[in-house]
Symmetry: C2
Subunit: 503 residues, 2 copies
């Protein structure tokens, strides 16, 4: 999830000031409401060293009545705390009704720093996740609002911050040996974070991932996340107590869009290949693909490729070039339409499980189970609870596949709105392609922004190290097709290398 973040996000000073004044007011009012309603709140801050947890907590509490909250700095366990189960110190520091507890790093230490340092043994990691999930489910079932904030910066930015701190005597002590070691082995440490996010991003306690390079942007986004979660809860509680008076419409909606993930806009759609270059690369890649497909079969490695993207994004063309030189007995392409009657009578993942490849085979899905968090979400074909739950359900399914040895890759074919219009029109004008364009396509186009938000959230929440999302810059079809082929070829080659290493 983390490699997908756009860490260049920033907020201007004037814009920040304007926003934050509104947000502070809103949060203050919400705190009072939570107090009146007796809602307990836990806010856990996690994130890389020097990502600014302390600073951000400082900003957040600006808006709060100091009589209503406590901040707990979670350090290495004390001698005393070591004598208890690791969750004990959090159970005992739990907010009473109407109160807020803020944790400057949290119970996740057990599966992050302590794991990195070898204090948590690898064999105990699964049990620790079990304990953490059970803990979070219990407290939220018990009525607590649990808000989890993750502050992300990258290796370079972290190094820069460490250097700056070390330059002055007054701040040098804040950079520890451990900090530098974790920076050096940033990739290893990041994988632990990825695993943590995948295992604990639940519907009852989802992660809020914050791009934290720009301090002001991060502050605003944290405010928005906290406010949105609390408003939701306040509404629910009022409703359950028969108070039908709305909790006041949120001011956060528009901020949310502004502050949303923007993976898609990061895609450089000017990337392209000339026809000449395309042909050359295509030929060489397809030849490789042919050979590698045979290797997959021989070694009984299954592969699942999912294709999503804007209408007319070029999914069909990319799949065609990918499979052109593959042995048709070894792969199958499943186009995913709206579910038929039998499929509707089953669990939404049922039809996809039915089509999963067996060992040594390749299944390509032209549109996938991600419909749940895109079209079904936007058209209201499933409830909010259902699509929110789906991120973890899907991550779990893909994990089941990769645990069983499969290669799983998901492609998002990205084009911009103008390019889509050009392609739609071209289709309409071409009698042989007219069937490819319907009124529905034009209607979906009008919901571009809604889809963009849903897709961005989907990419963040379901791109995992074991089953990554690849955003394919698709304005130039040649470029897109080559990138897809290249990605698949590389993934297979890497796997074969790994297997050889293991012997």
């Amino acid at each position: 999830m983390l490699e997908k973040l756009d860490l260049t996000k920033a907020l201007g000073k004037a814009e920040y000031k304007e926003k934050i004044t509104v947000l502070e007011g809103r949060l203050g009012r919400l705190q009072r409401e939570c107090k009146e309603l007796g809602i307990p709140v836990m806010i856990a801050f996690e994130g890389y060293d020097a990502a600014g947890k302390g600073v951000q907590i400082g900003h957040l509490i600006q808006a709060l009545d100091p009589r209503g909250f406590e901040v707990h700095a979670v350090k290495k366990e004390t001698q005393e705390e070591k004598f208890y189960p690791f969750l004990w110190r959090f159970w005992t520091k739990m907010p009473a009704e109407g109160r807020i507890c803020i944790y400057d790093s949290s119970w996740y230490r057990k599966v992050l720093k302590d794991r990195f340092d070898g204090k948590t043994k690898e064999k105990d990691v699964a049990a620790a996740f079990r304990s953490i999930c059970s803990f979070e489910e219990q407290v939220t079932d018990g009525g607590i609002v649990l808000i989890k904030i993750f502050l992300a910066i990258d290796k370079k930015e972290q190094k820069k911050r460490f250097k700056k701190l070390m330059r002055s005597k007054e701040t040098a002590w804040r950079v520890s040996e451990g900090d530098l070691k974790r920076n050096k082995q940033f990739d290893r440490y990041q994988m632990m974070h990825e695993e943590m996010l995948a295992q604990t991003d639940t519907d009852y306690a989802p992660w809020n991932i914050i791009e934290a390079v720009d301090r002001k942007f991060a502050t605003a986004k944290i405010y928005a996340a906290v406010i949105q979660t609390l408003e939701q809860k306040v509404k629910e509680v009022k409703k359950s107590r028969g108070n039908t008076e709305a909790a006041g419409e949120s001011n956060v909606a528009e901020d949310k869009t502004m502050l949303a993930e923007s993976i898609l806009t990061k895609a450089d759609l000017s990337l392209k290949y000339s026809k000449e270059e395309y042909k050359q690369r295509l030929k060489s890649l397809q030849k490789k693909m042919e050979k590698l497909h045979g290797e997959l079969y021989r070694r009984r490695i299954p592969m699942v490729l999912g294709f999503e993207g804007w209408d007319a994004g070029g999914k069909g063309g990319a799949i065609k070039r990918l499979t052109e030189h593959m042995d048709p007995r070894g792969y199958v392409v499943h186009p995913t339409a709206s579910p038929n009657e039998i499929e509707r009578a089953h669990h939404y993942l049922w039809r996809f499980w039915n089509d999963m490849p067996k060992a040594g085979h390749v299944t390509i899905f032209d549109r996938t189970w991600y419909g749940r968090v895109m079209v079904e979400r936007i058209e209201g074909f499933c409830s909010k609870k259902e699509w929110q739950r789906a991120y973890k359900e899907i991550n779990d399914m893909e994990r089941d596949l990769t645990d069983a040895g499969a290669i799983v890759i998901k492609f998002w074919l990205q084009i911009d709105r103008d390019e889509q219009e050009r392609r739609f029109k071209a289709r309409q004008e071409n009698p042989e392609k007219q069937w490819k364009i319907t009124d529905e396509d034009w209607r979906n186009r009008e919901k571009w922004e809604q889809y963009e938000e849903a897709v961005n959230e989907m990419l963040i929440r379901t791109s995992t190290p074991n089953a990554p999302w690849i955003v394919v810059e698709g304005n130039c079809k040649y470029y897109a097709r080559i990138k897809v082929l290249e990605t698949v070829v590389n993934a297979i080659e890497n796997r074969l290398k790994e297997e050889e290493k293991r012997g």
Copy 2:
């Protein structure tokens, strides 16, 4: 959970016939209702070899319209199935709306037979449980009713059945090498079952544990379990669709009581010691306890002892004798009263977490967190969903404690109703003990049957190998006190032996 079962339960022929006729009719009607409402149903049968899964499925489907169900026999994975993730074959064999799928052994094979045979490696067990829990949560979230049936017999009964099968040529083939090996290592296999039950006994898919030595008893209890679960679901679905017409009151309630767990009635309350014998044993045990308490401290082993039981069951006396020779700096007794205002403003487990012992210390709870599934359940102080969820919450908490190295034992002090009356009266007549008896005690006494049912369910669902329940036969106070002391002494001695072995 399994060692607590009363496998002597049986049903007479006449009684069985009368009951089963009613139950069959009810189940047939329920199947039709589920079909109309579009409710999909999965019924998974697990249990020891020769416990009668096939026979019981045969009896259950008597009541069903054959056009509405399928039975899936889950054998070793076929060559084909091995090429998929292990859950694949269950995802693809999932009921459509309104249909029933019955599984003759199920996805639990992965953590039972395959684990026993070493096909599932120990390091992969945690991941398998994760997959299973996620699978069950997903399908039940998706609207499927999942009924899990576990058929229990003991080692001796199993051996007897194998022998009988092997005596005849026609049936000998049904007993495999594997069956005999599992019978030989029954204890090891049972531990895997215990772990499975503890990890997967959830509120969304609880286990129905069936005493299966007597075939007729088991059949009736399975019927009752299936009917009860379906009636509950039918009611919910009707309610959610605005159909307020009650689903017809259950006929099963009375059967349920008859068929309920009866751990308590198994307790042999005639067990006793003479005063002489008591004194002698007490002295020797207390001396041991004194020494062992020091060892606990020295080795930094924490210990949690919970005491529950009927009013006037003798908890206080037992605790007094237990602690008499213990160093008061190393233990503390927490009496648990109704929660005060601060405690009520927190999660129900919060106050107990606060009082957990640190390493090397002993905490004794006079009444415990089990109030959630007894008094709170019976008096309606929490919702049904809340107390049903509590079994797993409590198991998870105790697991957190034992994972951190604690010894955890829970005692239930059992007396019969007459004995309680004698003790109540004696207290009333003794001016020094009058404070011990209140009107509430007499009121609780009237709910004896309700408590009995709740206690039996609690003992089954929360007695785990890591944190067992000990039922203490308490009509003779001498006997009870010695049994408590003996149990604690043995538990510590066993732990010390284990630690020595580990070196």
